[in-house]
Amino acid sequence: MPERFYTSNSQLRTLHSELSLKIMSIPFSYSFRNLWTRRLTTVLTASGMALVVFVFADTLMLAEGLRKTLVETGSSDNVIVIRKASESEVQSGIDRQQAAIVGTQPEIAVGRNGNQLLAREIVVLISLTKRGTDKPANVVIRGIGDASLALRPQVGLVAGRMPRPGSSEVIAGDSVARRFRGGGIGETLRFGMRDWMVVGVFEAGTTGYSSEIWGDVDQLMQAFRRPVYSSVLFKLRDSSEFDALKVRIESDPRLTLEAKRETRYYSDQSEMMATFLRILGITLTIIFSLGAMIGAMITMYAAVANRTAEIGTLRAMGFRRRSILISFLMESILLGLTGGCVGLFFASFMQLITISTMNWQTFSELAFSFTLTGTIAFQSLLFSMIMGLIGGVLPAIRASRMNITEALRAS
């Protein structure tokens, strides 16, 4: 293989000059230039790795996006009360008497206007059609009280006004306004034998509220002929009083309710989805990375085989087995890292995409987006380097074990 010799001769010259100063370690540039020399193979192997890292990063980003949506939807100072064992607001039902008893608890915070920061709400699902298609999706419609908005600082009106109490007016989350027919400002939605005018659009960041429609609780209860609340939400005057309050509510013989911190409530709600995403992500990553590691292994074995004479020369010059081993491992890790960087680069564009799907536990629409964090970037790069390392270990050991005389003869 004379072609190899031309490139390696110049490299050997550099090596020789360095050898007199630093003894026994092969310079990093040797690994780098070897990859550069065999560009086509390097590009192919690295792109295989890049795809795997792309998928790996995406699954992590998706899980993170879901987590972020949930964390921001709930506040740990807020307590949500629902009927025992009902799991979600949609399944829950609290009659007026029980809701009134909850309202007498002393731990409830008081707002600026002197009223309690407490909202009795009704939550039901309605089926709406997406714009431009005939596909229906379930949307949460929430009947709100005076304090509902104050209890959720992450929600803010961006257009129009709040619905007047006692009227058939609603406001829609920006995600609903954008994606569902009849959800935009000035449009009307028909349900419960009435036409409901959308008078405002609210924004709620990445929280679940952006896929909801809000209206006056008493009007909605009438329209749906459902004389019970779904949940009672309130803010604690002191977050540490939660445990005592929970015990009191759950042991009160007049109540058949349970109290949860809002953050806990929302993470319970999408536990199934989070588990599903996690299992799917782990399985895919393992299978895919096996493929990519095999690719790296093939490449590195070929690299070792092509350079037998070169390795013999290096050994003859006095480099230790360990230096050869490290040098080949370096090359392989570098290969993995190249793939990792490319994969991560493309994965970062996935942040522009929002996934909307049905949450099996609540049957309602859940929207979340890919979210890239520093930790995920670090994990992805580390993962790519580990893939390179594992793929390179066996070939590197083979290279380091070569017999000097036989290796030199290979040319």
Binding site: A85, S127, F276, L284, I298, T299, E365
Partner: protein, 385 residues
């Protein structure tokens, strides 16, 4: 014959490299097949639904109920053979992790409408006469070790309380795609309990299931039913069972699409790996190709040898992958029984698996084949040095 021998010999010249590539292709083909099966499992409910059944639900959404009085009105619509009703009960067995679908149904009419749930005559009879009885699917009974006569307690999420049922029958599915993980009990038991506990919620039905005399009447009957209840307190939406099931799948289609994309990504990954192997192999053998040409072999011979080698490696990998996907699919099917009642690898999937392997082999061979066929003899020989 000669070229076949050459292909096989060549393929196993670098044993380690070839084996690694075969393993890679096998893993990728297996993953591709399993992901496709997963997508298929998603649509299992749609596949197993009948075209001669309609489902009527509240037009607002599934959480709203319909009055029981609609049953007789619906029965009077021309073209309707039978009507039954069911409520999604949403009960939890011990913990939420043990999820399985459970419904309160009108026993006699429901079993008539669903002939695919096969019960022996005495099981059917003892279920119908026992108001606290229930029937469970075969695989559900296996999962929790239930036998006929056992008492099963569910914790109600929508209907509060602890609900006790006696297993009176274990049904098996008539088709491979029939869901054998469900539990059915008497709607009357639910209704009578609700009458005592919260009368406001009694006499309410989640969905009506309608059997048609003729599947072609579906559109007509749906319009007639929905027209009958227009502008009432509970307007209805009637659709075929298939589109009813489809609406659930459609709500999660973002995930299905993601899985589909990913199943192609895995093929692309392995294509890259296989292309790399073939490119390396061809590069090493350039002098050989030149020698063969000198001996008088035409470019087509060389192209055939390279191409054949690539296809051989890919197809061996593909076959191994298909073989592996059966035990792997069986394992996943058992682990995910609660999410996907039906998880079986179809003939179509196997065909696609092999097609994918063939495509991988073809794409991987393109560049090396061209290179080998067009090599200039003098250039090729010079590389021997």
């Amino acid at each position: 014959m000669f070229i076949l021998k050459l292909i096989i010999r060549n393929a196993f010249r670098h044993k380690l490299r070839t084996i690694l590539t075969i393993v890679g292709v096998a893993i990728a083909v297996m993953a591709f097949g399993l992901l496709r099966t997963l997508v298929g499992a998603w649509y299992a409910g749609v596949e197993s639904s009948s075209a001669s059944r309609l489902v009527t639900r509240n037009a607002i959404s599934l959480v709203f109920t319909l009055p029981i009085s609609y049953q007789e009105k619906i029965r009077s619509v021309p073209g309707v053979k039978g009507v039954s009703h069911a409520n999604w009960f949403g009960g939890v067995y011990i913990t939420e992790k043990n999820f399985f679908p459970n419904f309160a149904v009108d026993a006699r009419t429901y079993l008539d409408l669903y002939p695919e749930f096969i019960l022996s005559p005495q099981e059917k009879k003892s279920f119908i006469v026992d108001r606290k009885g229930c029937v469970v699917g075969r695989s559900l009974a296996q999962r929790f070790g239930w036998n006929i006569g056992d008492v099963v307690t569910l914790k109600g999420t929508i209907f509060p309380g602890q609900w006790e049922f006696v297993v009176r029958g274990i049904y098996r599915g008539a088709e491979k795609s029939t869901d054998e993980t469900q539990l059915f009990f008497h709607w009357d038991y639910l209704n009578e309990t609700m009458k005592k506990m919260s009368p406001r919620r009694a006499d309410a039905v989640g969905i009506y299931v309608i059997g048609l005399k003729d599947p072609y009447l579906a559109a007509e009957v749906s319009l007639a039913i929905d027209g009958m209840f227009k502008n009432s307190l509970a307007e209805t939406l009637t659709e075929t069972e298939r589109s009813f099931q489809m609406s659930f799948v459609a709500m999660t289609d973002a995930i299905v699409i993601a899985i589909q994309i990913v199943s192609y990504v895995v093929i692309v990954i392995i294509m890259v790996v296989a292309a790399n192997t073939m490119a390396m192999t061809a590069r090493e053998r350039i002098p050989e190709y030149a020698t063969m040409k000198t001996l008088g072999f035409g470019p087509w011979h060389i192209a055939g040898a390279v191409f054949g080698e690539s296809i051989a490696i890919a197809m061996i990998g593909g076959t191994v992958g298909v073989a592996l996907s059966f035990p792997a699919g069986g394992w996943i099917g058992r682990e995910l029984k609660q999410f996907f009642p039906v998880f079986s690898i179809s003939t179509m999937t196997i065909a696609l698996d092999l097609l994918a392997a063939f495509v991988v082999g073809t794409v991987a061979a393109l560049f090396p084949t061209w290179r080998g066929a067009t090599i200039n003899i003098a250039d090729g020989l010079r590389r021997i040095g």
